[in-house]
Symmetry: C2
Subunit: 244 residues, 2 copies
């Protein structure tokens, strides 16, 4: 399993992904689920992946080799805008399905993949997409300024309640860390370390990319602080005075 979360904020984009990959509970490995393409002064794109590792790696390899799209071979470094970038990722997913789908089906393996693609290409504002296994996609908007893939439920309540398009990026980092912590706590197949990427609007350079380990001081602060804060919030809530 996997948990990846992306915030689409006025100030920029915040992405966080875990790194646990498992084929059964006795075969657990660390793989980054975050890939980044950066052309300084021109574009930053980051892709997060959930699902079958062979499929997600096949998609990423194809994207680096170049995918046939709109009459030419393109990569995330050459497509003209973010919409085309999402289409390119969708096309790569469809190409992998075309190549491997039948063989997977013959082994009863589901074609399981979902991707998040966020970033900015000069000429337009940042955008954040979620690409499905069918290669189609949706986009985050100011109304719903976050997307999640993988094990999304445990970490959603805090996002539902707090995040808005005007949340500052620095608070966004705090939020995705809290959201990830809730998920790590409740689902063993989501695991540390986690990869964080912050991109500030119109900077056309990665603002921050950081691998956060169990020992990270801020992560520990969130982990211990959020548990204590939840317990405190629960204690502060009034007791029902009508229970005999």
């Amino acid at each position: 399993m996997t948990y990846c979360v992306g915030l689409y904020l006025r100030e920029g984009i915040v992405l966080l992904s875990d790194t646990r990959t498992n084929a059964g509970v006795d075969n657990i490995s660390v793989f980054s689920k975050m890939q980044v393409e950066e052309v300084p002064c021109e574009r930053v794109l980051a892709m997060l992946s959930a699902g079958n590792l062979a499929i997600t790696q096949a998609v990423w390899n194809r994207l680096q080799e170049g995918v046939r799209f709109d009459g030419a071979r393109h990569t995330l470094r050459t497509v003209g805008n973010m919409f085309h970038a999402a289409q390119l990722v969708g096309q790569a997913v469809r190409d992998v399905f075309q190549a491997d789908g039948a063989a997977l089906q013959a082994q009863d393996v589901r074609f399981d993949i979902s991707l998040m693609l966020g970033g900015q290409i000069a000429g337009e504002a940042p955008r954040l997409f979620l690409v499905y296994a069918a290669g189609n996609f949706i986009e985050a908007t100011a109304d719903t300024p976050f997307l999640q893939i993988g094990e999304h439920k445990y970490g959603k309540p805090i996002l539902d309640r707090v995040v808005s398009f005007d949340t500052p990026v620095v608070d966004g980092v705090k939020l995705v860390m809290i959201s990830m912590d809730s998920t790590l706590r409740s689902n063993l197949t989501v695991g540390m370390p986690v990869d964080l990427l912050v991109y500030r609007t119109d900077s056309f350079a990665v603002t921050l990319r950081k691998r956060i380990t169990e020992d990270d001081a801020y992560f520990r602060l969130i982990r211990e602080g959020w548990s204590a804060a939840l317990r405190h919030a629960y204690l502060e809530m009034p007791r029902p005075d009508w229970v005999p």
Copy 2:
């Protein structure tokens, strides 16, 4: 979808279930998912259900009619102890599967049911079980003093962090309300009103059974208070000072 949660506490048992049933998003109804049998001074048993409504109602009808078990016909009012009660419920599930399973499969309808059974029969301590679609079951213990059926993920983080066997019943009510509120907020197919049952150990009578509606003062207090508390907790958490 459904959300039911049960706490197994030293002081007693707390059960909470929602009431939304849906066959598609355009066919939503209110059905209680909580059934109670009470023999004053002798036993209290409550059953919560999740899954296909026709299947859960069939199981309940069979339990009221009597289910063949251990060479005789029994109901939850006649079985000798809680273990036998859980076996009886499991047998009722298997009987329904026997009767309807093939016809459901022919229509590609999954045999989808899970049940929670909690209570006390004179002669032993209270017990709380979760019965699966296969008719087998697990039991809550002091180590893991809560069970959930249905849409369990949104409401689990607060339980993971707070509940223990020594949580007082009155705090247990607060906890299940918070857990339900998180679920209601994030999944539209879990809906108000909710049914609450409190049973105090060795009382052999229902301590409290209450239908809680949207207008309920305590529910509103939890709903608004918990949102505010989460936002406050989030604001109190330190910002990362290392984000450029």
